[in-house]
Subunit: 150 residues, 2 copies
DNA sequence: GGTTGTAATGAGACTCATTCTCATTCTATC
DNA sequence: GATAGAATGAGAATGAGTCTCATTACAACC
């Protein structure tokens, strides 16, 4: 995992990752990265549009998919119909998601070290006999967030 | 979890669940249930269309969503853009998914009892401090299936 | 075994998140 | 600052999934 003391260090690393796939780090992409990096939770396209209205929808989608190709951003399928975007795990603590099935909100939760050791062991156990080669895992908890427990 | 000695017992239980939400168990719905119940893995709409071509797309979607409302069928978001459908957990052993990021295939894996006890404990741990009320969880392992490890 | 009210179905139109196109604008490099 | 290639914006196109509505099946009653 990467940690950054300043926003500039973050941008430098993003730029490196983009350069690796022959992409420039332009103002629009910067704006998207800055928004995602400063957000507590994964954002949908309309979240992004609301907070950075000067970026058109089609560009936002393209930026997100370029950043995803570069390994800067990750896309997650929530329980509603909208995709959410967040910084890739290299930029964040490894974490899991709580999906609210009432409002669609996605909440990040960071597991303890011990927790993750257990998950890793369990993933091995699950994949071993299938000859499946795991690259990552996602533990999603579905339920109702505080606001949605009437 | 329910277990069924005969297909008829399965159909009876499905019928009960549909009746609870004032729905009939018609031939089209039966065909969808029979297909899903006999499938090793979650199916996409095009899988379903390929195997039961006499059911039109719009009806298949409606059957699936009615069956989902009744608690007979579950919908899962795979790593590609297509939703997959499988029998709800009441009809299957509780299980998790291996998602192949090359071909999109979804493989079911059944965890051991001990495994699930651990997951349950971990889910509690994750949700406790958020005031989140968990109703279910999904542990997805992303990677490459045997066929896709060039 | 006909009638009648209601639910389910099929065909196709529609929606809307996402992707594509292409003309224009930016940017790196000389 | 000229040039070539890359990035962008606006809007068109795509396509999974949903909705509509006319038709068909079904259950309950006579």
């Amino acid at each position: 995992m990467q940690t950054f003391d300043t926003v500039e260090e973050l941008h430098e690393f993003v730029e490196l990752l983009l350069h690796r796939i022959d992409q420039r780090y332009t103002a629009g992409r910067r704006a998207v990265v800055e928004l995602l990096a400063s957000s507590e939770r994964p954002l949908s396209i309309s979240d992004i549009e609301a907070r950075v209205p000067e970026i058109p929808r089609s560009s936002a989608y393209r930026h997100l998919s370029d950043l995803q190709r570069a390994g800067v951003v990750g896309r997650i399928a929530a329980s509603d119909e909208f995709a959410r975007f967040e910084m890739a795990e290299d930029f964040l603590h490894h974490h899991h998601h709580l999906l609210c099935s009432s409002c669609g909100q996605v909440i990040d939760v960071t597991p303890t070290r011990a927790f993750e050791r257990t998950v890793a062991r369990m993933v091995d156990e699950l994949t071993a006999e299938q000859g499946f080669r795991a690259t990552s895992h996602a533990l999603d908890v579905i339920g109702h967030c505080t606001n949605c427990q009437h």
